[in-house]
Each structure stands twice: as C-alpha cells, then as structure tokens.
Symmetry: C2
C-alpha cells in the first residue's frame, strides 16, 4: 500500500462510505427478516438478548479509547459517549444501556439472565471482546475510525423502528426508545469521528489503516448476526445457549 | 456455587469428561460431513484455511500460560508444547504449524494467503483471539483446564484420518501428517493437564471455574465450525472472505 497516493479528505470520506455501502449490516439477511416482520417473537428475543453483549461493551471500548487520547479537547468530546450510554444515578436520565434493557424487558426476558450473558452465543461474545481488544491495541486513529459505522446507523434505525412497529404486536414505541435517542446521538458522534479521521489519516499508510479499521468493525457487527441466524433461523444446535421458553419473566412465560 | 460440596478427584474427572461428551466438536455437523466424505474440495479448503488461525495461536496461548506459571517443574513440562508446535530451525524436525501448512499446501492453497489470514472468517479469528485473551486473563488453573479438550481429540482424529483417506482422492496420508503426531502428543499433554487440574481444583469455587474453562474452550472450537458451516455449507454471504477459486497455487487452479 505504501506506493499508493494519499487520498484527499473528500476521497477518504467516499472510500469510508463505500465500505459501509458494501459491508455494513443493513445488508445482512437477518436484519431484513427482522425489519420485514418475518421473525418470530423468539427470534426477536434471541436478537435482543445477544445484542445486549454489544451494548454492554460500548462504555468499555469508549473508556479504552478515552484513556488513550492525548489531548484534552478530544477527550472532552469523547467522554460524552460514556455519559450517553451509562446515564445518570438512578437512571435520571437513563442511558443507552438501560434503554436496551427496556427492550429485553418488553420482550419478557428476565433482566438478570440478560445481563449475566449466560445464554448469549459464544460467537457474539467473542466478536464484542475482539472490538474492545481492537480499540485497546491499535492506534487511536484506527480506534476512532472503527466507530464510523455510526455514519450508517440512522438509515437502518429508521427502517427498523418503522418496520418493527408495523409488523409486531409485541413491540411498542416505548420499548424501542433506545433507537430514538441514537437517531440524534449517532450523527453527532459520527460527524466528530469522521472529521477526526479525515484530519489525522493523511498518508497512504494511515488511510489504509483507517479503512481497514472500518472493515473490521463491519465484520464484527456482521458476525454477530451470522451467529444469531445460524442458530435461531437455521436451527443449528448451540450447547448452553438461550432457547425459546428459557428465562422468561412470569408475565411473559 | 459456593454452597456446593467439593468433588473428589475422580468425580472432577468425570465432570470434565461429561462436558466433552456433550459439547466437544466431535458432535458438530460440519465434522460429520467432513469425516463422512460429504464435503467438496472447496469446503475442505475452507476448513483447513480457517483452522490455520487456530493452529497459529497455539504457541501464543501456550507462551502466555508459560509466562504465568510460577514453578520451574511445571514450566519445563509446558514448554514442550511450544517446541512441538514450532519445530526446530529450517523445519528439522518440522513442528505442528508446519504440518498444518502441509495440509493447506496439499489442498492447493497459496501458503502466503493462508498465513496472512486475510481470507479467514472474522468469527474464526475472533474465537481464536478470545482463547488467547482467556488464558492471559484467567487463573493459571483455568488456563490449563481450557487445554483439556485434548482429552477428547484422539477419538476425533482417528475417525477423521480414516474417513478422509477413504472418501477424498485429494487427501493423502502425508498431507494429514499433522494428526498422526497429535495422536501421541495430545494424550501426553492431556494426562499432565488433567492431573494438574485434579490436584489444584480443590474447592467448589475452583472446580466450578475449571469446569467453566473447559466449557469455554468447547464453545470456542464449536463456534469456528458454525461460522464455516454457515458460509461454506449454507451459503451465507461473507464479505471479504475466501471463496472457491481464490488463492489457489498454480498447479491446483
């Protein structure tokens, strides 16, 4: 790659957006099923239960990045992500993690079972661990570039909320409130991260590394849905994983 | 678990063997396909190419464990695993990693492509990273207990070698030589690790941790085959991953 020429900031942005167009999980068949109303309630439960693992590591990965950023100005901006996700004392106001539990609660899953992650698929947990490892070990530029899937999330969230409300009688606007907040948080976060990457990735090598970081993140999100689809759509055996009927709160059982 | 009673060493061994009977990847449908001759050459290539990621991390995980063992006597024994896997200068004699490449060579895959892991499935890489992370972060007892899948491997290796030689004309005894060596190495390693775990897991808490470590390892092996089956048997899309026809050495193309 060292013989490649340096991209202009606009070309860099276009290259990042192209990765999203080809690899972001809006293209994953499980999401199409989910949004078009073709999932059973148990498939939606499996998705929400497993994706809790991803929600859980977001403050961990943001704290890992925060601890590695040298300048105060960038740290002040980055710390807002942790505030948004963890919320305030007694959930006043609540944060993104608590809002995700509103979804698993609303689907009738026992909260302690969800947060224990004992029924989550190992492949989902491994992908989430890999993300924390990535942002801890790579350059800060790569860590920030890996967050850029947020550029693409408003598109999928709009489709998801509309589709799930239209197709599932067990879904309400209130239990999907996580996504409503992300519609304003994600673009703000993505705008900052995109400007950071365009400003700091200024050589062929650092540009290639930033593009690879976004490919890694897309693969990490994609592999979670692969695992869910393999077990809960295609019916592959999954020793020890959640199965329909398990860990339902009394009113939902 | 703290209210549970302590198992006797024999009960502990039985509990470990029970985990293998229920969760080891000899039960995985992809292995059944592979051993019964129902895989195409490209499915065998996908398996060998991806499993290289696992072979690759074995010396890394053994070195991580070695660096955490306090007593000289145990270290002297554990280091043999690294010798076995890495071999000696100029491959005289060759080690397990080189023997695995004899398999991917024999299947016609370009060696540089295999060792770059660029075509490996992200889920397989994440599982392998999780294993190195596990042995680096948990207790030495848990790290050693996670190696105990070797208790079960001679069984699957015997079936694999016999089945693959019988069913595939592109497989020879020579390119399967990795497994022949594992038939003597694995039982020796497993005997030591089993005795270590029985001697050091002497409370309900440490016994539960050791059993969980073996469950983790079974899940880590299982999830690799799930990913391979999902993409190369069920035909799920896998952006960026190896596809039939790619990276074949000239004589095999």
């Amino acid at each position: 790659m060292s013989a490649a020429r340096t991209l202009t900031p606009d070309e860099m942005e276009a290259a990042l957006r192209q990765i999203g167009a080809e690899r972001y999980h809006h293209l994953h068949p499980f999401h199409t099923m989910l949004h078009e109303g073709r999932c059973s309630i148990d498939q939606v439960r499996a998705w929400a239960l497993n994706r809790y693992c991803y929600q859980r590591i977001i403050p961990h990965k943001d704290a890992a990045i925060l601890g590695r950023i040298e300048d105060t100005v960038t740290r002040r901006i980055w710390r807002q992500r942790i505030v948004d996700h963890d919320g305030e004392i007694d959930d006043h106001p609540e944060g993104g993690l608590r809002r995700w539990l509103a979804l698993t609660d609303g689907l009738g899953l026992e909260r302690g079972y969800v947060t224990s992650m004992q029924g989550a698929l190992p492949a989902v947990r491994f992908a989430c661990e890999a993300y924390v490892g990535f942002v801890s070990q790579r350059t800060v530029l790569e860590a920030i570039a890996s967050s850029l899937t947020e550029m693409f999330s408003p598109m999928i969230i709009a489709i998801r909320v509309k589709g799930m409300l239209a197709h599932y009688d067990f879904i309400s606007k209130d239990i999907l409130r996580y996504f409503e907040h992300r519609l304003t948080e994600a673009p703000r976060d993505a705008d900052f991260a995109l400007e950071y990457v365009k400003r700091h990735a200024t050589t062929p090598e650092t540009q290639a590394a930033a593009l690879d970081a976004l490919r890694f993140k897309c693969a990490m999100l994609w592999s979670q849905l692969d695992a869910i689809q393999h077990v809960y759509v295609n019916g592959a055996p999954a020793p020890g994983a959640w199965a329909p009927g398990l860990a339902l709160a009394e009113r939902a059982a």
